[in-house]
Assembly symmetry: C3
Homo-oligomer: 321 residues x 3
């Protein structure tokens, strides 16, 4: 009676039908390019694909607050003809009565065709994968990964710069706790672009990400020099210093105002560079920049809708004509 999914261990060698998306490391160059192509194809034929997921149900289990990720997943699924159940905070679920994540997942897997999960614990996505009979999409697990954000960022860069090769890409701000930059770094390591990790000392890129890039012989530079590096960059990927990731608020106060983009810094930026940000921002990009033609972070949210349509369709359908 219960739906069965394919063997997880064959995941990276297969197409994505009936598969989970847990980490950006599942995506090689070919797969990233395939999803970019599919996202653009669906966008160009919205009407045609508006009933693609008719009769399907997606469960969105958001244990942490979200605007963009949850709403764009729900919007994507709705525009493709499917329906959505779920919760936007754990407080209204049985978690409040002491239920474990494993039990919640085993249950919800019986009510939906796919589960999208965000959770504050790093191990949550893998645990969900282990206990679910339907595909799992990791929509953010603690400070570790946010693979669908990384994929939409790749789509945004490709759409706006025409390529993912030969670019100087700066990942800026909180590279330690920022899960989106971890996923994006993994994905970009498939391409011939130069990565600059620009952060205060306290928030350097995590070792496990750097080790993974080194294993792939991927070049990256680490620096604390924000202004000095800006003029080199084709893609400026800003991130928020996330208060909620700090145990020690004094540590937060020390670094929160470093690495801010104001009109002054924009003078150092190339004319054809693009500014991205996973959002929400607090003060790391000043609002005066929003009208600068290089500011693309709101357009980037639309790439989120496009990419999530492609991912959901690929997982739930054997073929998309």
């Amino acid at each position: 009676m219960v739906k069965k999914k394919c063997n997880l261990y064959t995941l990276v060698h297969m197409e994505f039908y009936n598969q989970d998306i847990i980490s950006a490391k599942q995506f090689d160059r070919e797969k990233v390019e395939k999803f970019i192509k599919l996202a653009k194809k669906i966008e160009a034929n919205k009407e045609k694909y508006s009933t693609l997921l008719k009769g399907k149900v997606m469960a969105a289990l958001f244990f942490e607050p979200s605007t963009r990720t949850r709403l764009s997943f729900e919007s994507a699924f709705s525009y493709l003809g499917g329906k959505v159940i779920g919760f936007s905070s754990a407080g209204s679920s049985s978690v409040k009565k002491g239920e474990t994540l494993a039990d919640t997942i085993r249950t919800v897997a019986n009510y939906a065709d796919i589960i999208v999960i965000r959770h504050s614990k790093e191990g949550a996505a893998k645990l969900a994968q282990q206990f679910s009979d339907v595909p799992i999409i990791n929509a953010g697990n603690g400070s570790q990964e946010h693979p669908t954000q990384g994929l939409l960022d790749c789509l945004a860069i490709h759409d706006l710069k025409g390529t993912l090769d030969g670019l100087n890409v700066g990942l800026i701000g909180d590279l330690k706790y920022g899960r989106t930059v971890h996923s994006l770094a993994h994905l970009l390591s498939n391409f011939n672009s130069n990565l600059y990790f620009i952060s205060p000392d306290l928030l350097q890129m995590q070792y496990r990400v750097k080790d993974s890039l080194r294993l792939k012989n991927n070049n990256f530079k680490e620096t604390t020099q924000f202004k000095e590096t800006l003029p080199l960059l084709d893609v400026i990927y800003m991130t928020r210093i996330q208060k909620e990731r700090f145990g020690d608020l004094e540590e937060y106060d020390k670094v929160k105002n470093a690495f801010i983009l104001t009109p002054k810094e924009m003078k150092l930026v190339k004319d054809d560079a693009i500014i991205l940000h996973p959002l929400p921002r607090v003060n790391e990009i000043s609002p005066e920049i929003d009208s600068d033609p290089r500011a693309k972070y709101f357009e980037q949210t639309y790439h989120g809708l496009m990419m999530r349509k492609a991912l959901l369709a690929s997982i739930l359908l054997k073929e998309i004509e």
Copy 2:
């Protein structure tokens, strides 16, 4: 890629396709009548219109609690064939991480065909309008306006009394902080009815509403005499003294029990008068009155569903046959 909307400044001169609804002042006599007619037409042909908004997505962004407004908008959109995303409290959104309303709106405008917003700040609806690429409906901005409630109130009066002219209409209770009475007063000023603003001194109708009516040469009477005025009225529009609007709770305690409708007061009410209330009520209409045939406030909630269908359809479709 991003959907564009028409110039806002031409709003009041145009039909409502692709337009925002921010204030009741956008509606002249002809427009109010047109929407009443459309609401009744859709109601009479439910089956026919059940796929009118197929393929469309509405975002309901409720930063303040709501039962009637949110659920009737969601129900209206669903019955017309569309799908709904959104949140019912800001706590589960990125607002919790410090995101501004402008950024939230710019994002969500990329995920939906229309945005319905309720917010505690008066400026919220206009701000949303400014930053959205899709139409905005103001579902309550602080204590200023609630235009779709005013429109459904007009529908209720028209449906139950057969006209919006020649009536004595009493707006009663909290006319200072009550946003629904502000919108209703603006809408009724298009018709030849007599308005009675009946409230304690502390909660008199706001000057900006009264000034606006005076500019249109519209007659209204202000009084603190509740019982004395009751026998004159054809429409008795009660409102709740809203605790959450008071900074000073002592002030609240002083006025909360004035202007209560009990069976005793009902003896003073005309036989063919109707009692309306935007709800929720607390104690300003005693439950014994619910079975009085003049009590129409629950039927009025159904007019909410009818009017919101008409509004949503008019904004999202060029033509409705």
Copy 3:
């Protein structure tokens, strides 16, 4: 304008079209069997029934937290082609402004074709029934009843054991505050199975349930001897000692660790017995048992989806072919 429902007093003699589900006592043997049959029929023809409730709207009003019940109702309604509105906690509704349940229900009845309600008060479901113009489904009222859970439990037992007769069924744990066991006991009293009520003294089965069974000449045994009774049972229905039902936490601490199923106790259990649990569990079934072939509590959640489809369809449609 308002939808009318049939006379409530004829409820138990009629089919369920346009009826409420408030108590398990509404279901005699024939009705339980009919719903089991219908649930299996819909399951066997998912595609055929995927548009059964097209154009319908369900309101899910959950005043208490829920995972399984809310999500399976929403999933069931969605898979049958309908749409869902509602809330998952009272905090985002007008209840926060002091609205009564009666007023909330009268309102929401105007926005939906059916209302599913969970509330902490025992009287809530009956009150909702009294004030609604559309059918009400009780999804848990305080510690009294949870009839749709009882029905899905019957489906699970029938599906897994092939019958509801001639079984030794043990209801174990919190039989005083556990609403699911009250409903299940009423339903099973229609069949020729032996009921064992196994609990600590403080949490004995409620008198009103026992009195009701006695009136039907139904046999049951009460005992505090958990291990001694286990070897007799064909169905082992475990329940959580619900902390939230206790006024006195000292009382809770005394009983919370009695009646726990671990691998040690499993050695006493028949080879062909089945372990059920309404979930969520805390520690009353140890996770090591999850992989035991007799553990059926996750499969049971799928029976919830099946049964709720059958109930929703029966209430909303005159005929199901």
